[in-house]
């Protein structure tokens, strides 16, 4: 609980009358100033006045379970944003009932997120759309079973401006046509992975939605004809067409004949696009700001470079991942685009110190530099980056094993804004961390496979980097419980922590982790020393835990599952493959955890078939993903499997050997 909230607490404690006399509007203003959800909860819990104020002023709501949904919708009548993406076992009937129960409470709702809400079908959507006349944004992404009927239900929301349909696999041109006719004011649309949509649908989209600003047609089987249609969109600013293998240079040329509004183009992994096509695209686009061309170019032509120079003033982002580059090319890019803020050279072969030096010498505005797997670069490159890019925020150096602490020292000294650094597999040691600790703004630190890092290095980080949110210590197997103790001492905001294969860690270390209240994702793969006791302390302490990986933690037994079942109420994803748990523990776990949606349980040798059967029946309506040994496919009752599938659960059957070879 932050100091702010504590102050409010004490005020409430001194005399509830004091706060009670303030108007709801004023209290609402106060609440508005509280950013952290935890702080707001603290206020809500200690004062009825604050609770009323929040009820009247709350704009956004993220619901985690189905059962309280109707009550919540009635309690917060001023909602504008409703996130149901994590709402376990939400289905048509419960959604429609909740919407109906809310009465006019949803009249102000503008945005609804239903990502991965597999159970919701067209009836629920129809009820929702009918109850929310002001609906402007809907996210249906990853509802893999959603089809034309569901999308057609959304078409009734005439004011819709944003729609995400990523991976709605059953949506065809017909559904798209429904939407574009019903929602002519659409501005943002993502059709990523809707593989059934063809040129015909895109053509109609371009004709019916002239206000479209952002369009994503990645992974679609559309061809150049679509780009011809899209070129007629006068306001289009962003266009993503990742992995559209039917699109080639000809299509880009058609696109270049469109309006000048286009600012961002993503042609990553479009196999048939060459630099010539991009050159003709740039030719018509003097305002292009972002160009994503990862894994699609094999060489860069002179014409492209000369066109790139015309974007000197505007281009801020350039991604050329996977391209074979030369020093002269990097120099030319530097000279052409000196306003670059982000450059991606991930997996580019031929990136050398000289190349980087000549690039960064021109581009002093760079904030993000991705040099993943550019394994020729050394400290010299880091020196020139540090000297030129004072604004640097993100540096990715995975597998650049020639660098060491000297280079990082320079970076840490010269780039005080550094927020993210990836040193996976760079072989850095504690000395490097000592220098990096100067970057007090650091949020994300990835140190995977740097096995020489010890508790000492962790202590350096924890002493200065209090804002750290994500820490990856994958296979840093010198780290012990003491390191974790030091870590939690300084870095209390950590949300994501990876400790896989740090096999010196014991229950004591997990006991320290228990003080990380904000921890959401924890990976403890193959920590064979930890037991149920350690799991208990994590479950009790880390109240926000959403994802937990306990694969091959051979000593974890039913006691750990009981603790999780009792305390880890927000747990959504769990891996307990190879753990020594029994059917009893599994049943208890699956029947208790009401937010659990994804569980991987391969090789639970101690669980009987009846155990699996019972446990799965208990969790049936909630599970969305399940991973099990394929041997179970035949022995589990078919009606159970049918029931799971009917509830929108996808089962992955795997066939893996029990013996683990390391």
């Amino acid at each position: 609980m932050s100091r702010q909230a504590q102050k409010l607490d004490s005020a409430a404690g001194d005399g509830a009358v004091g706060i009670g006399v303030l108007s709801l509007d004023l209290l609402g203003q106060v609440l508005h100033g509280l950013w952290e959800p935890r702080d707001r909860k603290a206020c809500r819990l200690v004062s009825r006045a604050f609770e009323r104020a929040e009820a009247a002023h709350r704009r956004a709501l993220r619901v985690l379970r189905r059962e309280p949904l109707p009550r919540l919708l009635r309690a917060f009548p001023a909602l504008e944003l409703l996130d149901l993406s994590a709402c376990a076992s939400l289905d048509d009937a419960s959604l429609a009932a909740a919407v109906a129960g809310a009465g006019g409470g949803l009249a102000g709702l503008r945005s609804v997120c239903l990502a991965r809400a597999n159970g919701v079908g067209w009836r629920g959507l129809e009820a929702l759309v009918a109850a929310c006349p002001k609906l402007e944004a809907v996210d249906l992404s990853h509802c893999v079973s959603a089809g034309d009927r569901e999308v057609a239900a959304l078409a009734a929301a005439a004011g819709l401006r944003e729609l995400r349909l990523d991976k709605c696999l059953a949506v065809t041109d017909m559904g798209l046509a429904k939407v574009v006719v019903g929602c002519p004011r659409l501005e943002k649309l993502s059709l990523k992975w809707c593989r059934e949509i063809s040129d015909i649908g895109i053509d109609l989209l371009a004709k019916k939605c002239p206000e479209l600003r952002s369009l994503n047609i990645s992974y679609l089987k559309v061809g150049n004809g679509s780009l011809r249609s899209i070129s007629s969109l006068e306001r289009l600013e962003e266009l993503a067409m990742v992995c559209c293998s039917c699109i080639d240079d000809e299509g880009l040329e058609l696109l270049s004949k469109g309006s000048d509004s286009l600012q961002s183009v993503d042609v990553s992994r479009c196999d048939h696009v060459t630099s010539e096509g991009l050159a003709s695209l740039i030719d018509g686009r003097n305002f292009l700001q972002k160009l994503y061309a990862a894994d699609c170019l094999h060489e860069i032509g002179q014409r492209f470079l000369s066109k790139l120079a015309t974007l000197k003033e505007t281009l801020t982002l350039l991604k050329l991942d996977g391209l074979e580059v030369s020093d002269s090319l990097l120099q030319a890019i530097g000279e052409s685009c000196n306003k670059l803020v982000e450059i991606g050279l991930s997996k580019c072969s031929g990136v050398t110190d000289e190349g980087i030096s000549s690039l960064v010498a021109q581009c002093s505005d760079l904030r993000t530099i991705d040099l993943t797997c550019c394994n020729l670069i050394t400290n010299n490159a880091l020196d020139s980056i540090a000297d030129n890019c004072k604004m640097l925020e993100c540096l990715r150096l995975e597998s650049c094993s020639l660098i060491n602490e000297k280079g990082l020292k320079r970076i840490a000294t010269c780039c005080p804004n550094l927020k993210e650094i990836d040193l996976t597999d760079c072989g850095v040691d504690d000395a490097a961390l000592e220098h990096l600790a100067k970057c007090s703004e650091l949020r994300i630190l990835k140190l995977g496979l740097c096995s020489s890092i010890s508790d000492k290095g962790i202590a350096f980080i924890s002493s200065k980097c209090g804002k750290l949110v994500e820490l990856d210590l994958y296979r840093c197997n010198s780290i012990t419980d003491d390191g974790l103790a030091a870590l939690v001492n300084g870095c209390k905001r950590i949300k994501l922590l990876n400790l896989c294969y740090c096999n010196k860690i014991t229950d004591t270390g997990l006991g320290h982790l228990g003080s990380l209240e904000e921890l959401t994702n924890l990976e403890l793969r193959c920590l064979f020393r930890i037991t149920g006791i350690g799991i208990s302390s994590v479950a009790i302490g880390c109240k926000s835990l959403i994802e937990l990986d306990l694969k091959r933690c051979y000593s974890v037994d039913d006691a750990g599952l009981w603790a999780l079942a009792r305390y880890a109420l927000n747990l959504r994803q769990l891996t307990i493959s190879y753990c020594q748990v029994t059917g009893l523990g599994l049943c208890h776990l699956l029947s208790s955890l009401r937010c659990l949606q994804d569980i991987k349980m391969v090789h639970l040798s101690w669980v009987s078939i009846e155990g699996f059967e019972l446990a799965l029946r208990a969790a049936c309506g909630r599970l969305k993903k399940l991973k099990m040994l394929c041997g179970l496919k035949t022995v589990l009752s078919p009606e159970l499997l049918q029931m799971l599938q009917a509830c929108g659960c996808r089962i992955r059957w795997v066939n893996k050997p029990l013996v683990y070879k390391d």
Binding site: P37, E67, C113, A177, N570
Partner: protein, 470 residues
């Protein structure tokens, strides 16, 4: 071409040319009514079979009257030619035109005679009279003269023509054309060599065919020939057949002499046939693009094309689809093709129009504001119910209470006092049958209560994240 058409319009006699066999086809030419309407010797409707085989004396009389009438008309035309013969300065084209008309009429008369005589035809065929070596189509074409009348040497042609007009060779040739099967469908009326000038005049056919000038022979069948169901007739019993091969098979029944391999074999093409000109056809319907007088004339390539074209474009559509009862066709094959796909128009628009192809539907939707594709309904009844719901919801959004009550959720509606079931029964059952409202009911309990208690253990209370903002 335009010029020649003007000539035709200016000459009343020229109407003869159009008159034959097309008694109701040319409303544009008002003067045609000067001749009394006659019944076509081939029968008024295409469905009456082989009328000339009918030995009905009344019909015979009719036919003879018609022939008489026709002869009189031809005589009139020739009279006018004789009258104007003194002034040779008159338009050469005009004369050529008239000659063509005369030729056409004479041909018509011959055909009439033959068809009236009916069974005489086979014996004619076998007579030595027709066994001449072929006179050659080039000759014939020259005799008849160009259709346009704009050919520079038309005068000389016509001079020759005048003398030869009634020579027996012409008729031989004509009979040959009629009988030897190279012109399978019957009678040549206008046998015209397409001259260079003709091809240059208009755009060449879009069919893309670019025959060198003079290399093709243009034929025009008349309506009755086009519509005649059979073109091969048995010389013994008169039965008609569509194909010569079928006729040969039929002939076997008339005696052993027809069973020999030679009689059954396909008659060899004449050696001269190899040198024959490519044949192209003109539609008898004036002003049709397929008519040789049309400015952008595009010839038809085969007899079958002529038949199908004429039926499709200039005949009534008498075959109705038995499935949809709306689509009509004049060619049976078209009906068959349609019936294969009829009812499979799965691409449906909200306006009720259906399309066989998705792109057609989308083009339609793109064109008309507010039209939207209709999804194929899984359960039609529920779907229609649902549509009416959507409507009722939209209406009721202004009144929040009524909207709440328009949904009736069996178990969950405990706190809704005014229950008003608006036609929701249709899908209510299956909607709710799978739903589990056990826990849902509980949540309706302390709706306005103080929701938080500090301890985090009990299931009845919400985990902290419930109130986390997105």
């Amino acid at each position: 071409m335009d010029l020649s058409q003007n000539h035709i319009h200016n000459q009343s006699a020229a109407n003869l040319y159009y008159q034959f066999g097309s008694d109701n086809s040319f409303p544009g030419l008002g003067t045609q009514q000067q001749f009394p309407p006659f019944t076509s010797p081939f029968g008024a409707s295409p469905s009456t079979n082989i009328p000339h085989m009918d030995w009905n004396p009344a019909t015979m009389l009719d036919n003879l009257t018609f022939i008489e009438e026709k002869i009189r008309q031809v005589k009139d035309v020739i009279h006018t030619m004789v009258d104007s013969g003194g002034q040779l300065s008159c338009h050469q084209g005009e004369i050529a035109q008239k000659k063509q008309v005369v030729n056409a009429d004479l041909t018509c008369l011959i055909v009439q005679l033959i068809s009236t005589a009916g069974s005489l035809l086979p014996s004619l065929k076998n007579s030595s009279f027709l066994r001449h070596p072929a006179a050659g189509h080039m000759d014939m074409a020259n005799h008849v003269g160009p259709s346009s009348g704009l050919v520079p040497n038309a005068m000389t042609v016509s001079e020759e023509n005048k003398e030869d007009m009634c020579s027996p060779e012409d008729y031989e040739e004509l009979f040959k054309g009629w009988t030897d099967g190279t012109i399978k469908e019957g009678i040549e009326i206008g046998n015209v060599l397409v001259e260079e000038q003709d091809m240059k005049d208009g755009d060449e056919g879009k069919d893309g065919e670019n025959l060198p000038p003079g290399s093709c022979e243009l034929l025009q069948l008349e309506k009755d020939e086009i519509l005649a169901p059979h073109t091969h007739f048995c010389s013994i019993c008169g039965k008609g057949f569509k194909r010569d091969a079928n006729l040969r098979m039929h002939m076997r029944g008339h005696g052993d002499e027809y069973k020999s391999p030679a009689a059954l074999a396909k008659p060899p093409r004449d050696a001269s046939a190899e040198h024959e000109l490519v044949k192209r056809y003109s539609c008898p319907f004036v002003s049709c693009k397929r008519n040789k007088l049309h400015k952008n004339f595009q010839p038809l390539k085969t007899i079958l094309c002529v038949k199908n074209h004429y039926k499709r474009s200039h005949c009534e559509k008498s075959y109705t689809c038995s499935r949809c009862h709306t689509k009509k066709f004049s060619v049976m094959a078209d009906l068959k093709t349609h019936e294969k796909h009829c009812g499979r128009d799965k691409w449906l628009c909200s306006c009720g129009t259906s399309f066989s192809r998705k792109d057609k539907l989308f083009a339609h939707v793109a064109l008309f504001q507010g039209h939207t594709p209709a999804l194929p309904s899984e359960e039609p009844k529920t779907c229609s119910d649902q549509i009416s719901h959507a409507g009722s919801h939209q209406e009721s959004t202004k009144v929040p209470n009524s909207m709440g009550s328009s949904f009736m959720w069996g178990a969950s509606s405990g706190d809704n006092n005014a229950l008003d079931i608006k036609g929701f029964d249709g899908c209510n059952d299956d909607f709710l049958s799978t739903a589990n409202f056990g826990s849902f009911n509980l949540s309706f309990g302390p709706a306005d209560g103080f929701t938080g208690e500090p301890s985090g253990g009990s299931f009845s209370m919400l985990p902290s994240e419930h109130f986390q903002s997105a």
